[in-house]
Symmetry: C2
Subunit: 142 residues, 2 copies
């Protein structure tokens, strides 16, 4: 079985240092983009402007061995298990965000308000649906 | 940089064949469990019964090279890009579900209604929050 990750592209954001990165995705944040490797452009067929997508990406330079850690911004808070937190320091440092497609041009998807470093490696794009999708979406079938 | 996936445990479901697997997670589905490797039990500290979690897992025996495919159950439908579909056949076959914790006992989390094979490899558990967290939207197709 092949469980090797394939990097499908990079995420363009305004953030060049971890300190500059916001701690959460913001729908009204600055313009960002998902830039796929050219071979993957065809994989976007059928995605549309305005559609909500789940974006999976890989956090670099993290500690993958922490069982317990404190919540970000709570240096005096309790130690919590890594799986009870959204910290990027985790055994498999996969980030997940729900974003709205602002534009698509070939292998490039425009989005807003990502929370990661410029150049972050992209793992997957999926349509948000069912339990991933926000409450404000129109009913299924509309 | 180490981008190797670490398998943190397995998912117990009633499904031993792909044909038996439901196509979506169902909150009212049969009992299932996330069984972590013993070394990861401490990573669950702070998770609580009733809490919603995102579960990431790895689909085995899939085709990772499909640019275009048809929607499941639509053999006459249009060819769509893999990133416009939730198909497990994708470059990085990572499944994502939002589940409610029904019980926790050591390294074991009881949940309901997973959609994957018994023994599926577990990659991550995160608290659902913000745009991941759901109101009680039924799965598409339910």
């Amino acid at each position: 079985m092949n469980t090797e990750l394939r990097f499908i592209g990079r995420i363009e954001t305004p953030y060049e240092t971890l300190d500059a990165c916001p701690k959460n995705i913001r729908p009204d944040g600055p313009p960002c983009a998902l830039v796929l490797e050219p071979d993957y452009a065809e994989y976007l067929t059928g995605l549309e402007v305005g559609q909500e997508i789940l974006v999976l990406y890989w956090f670099e330079d993290v500690d993958r061995s922490l069982a317990l850690q404190r919540r970000f911004g709570a240096p005096e808070g309790p130690l919590l298990g890594t799986f009870a937190l959204r910290s990027p320091n985790r055994p498999n440092p996969i980030g997940i965000g729900t974003l709205t497609i602002q534009g698509i041009d070939g292998n490039r998807i425009e989005i807003r308000g990502m929370d990661c470093l410029n150049g972050t490696m992209l793992l997957d794009i999926k349509p948000a649906m069912g339990p991933d999708k926000l409450a404000s979406i129109p009913p299924v079938g509309s």
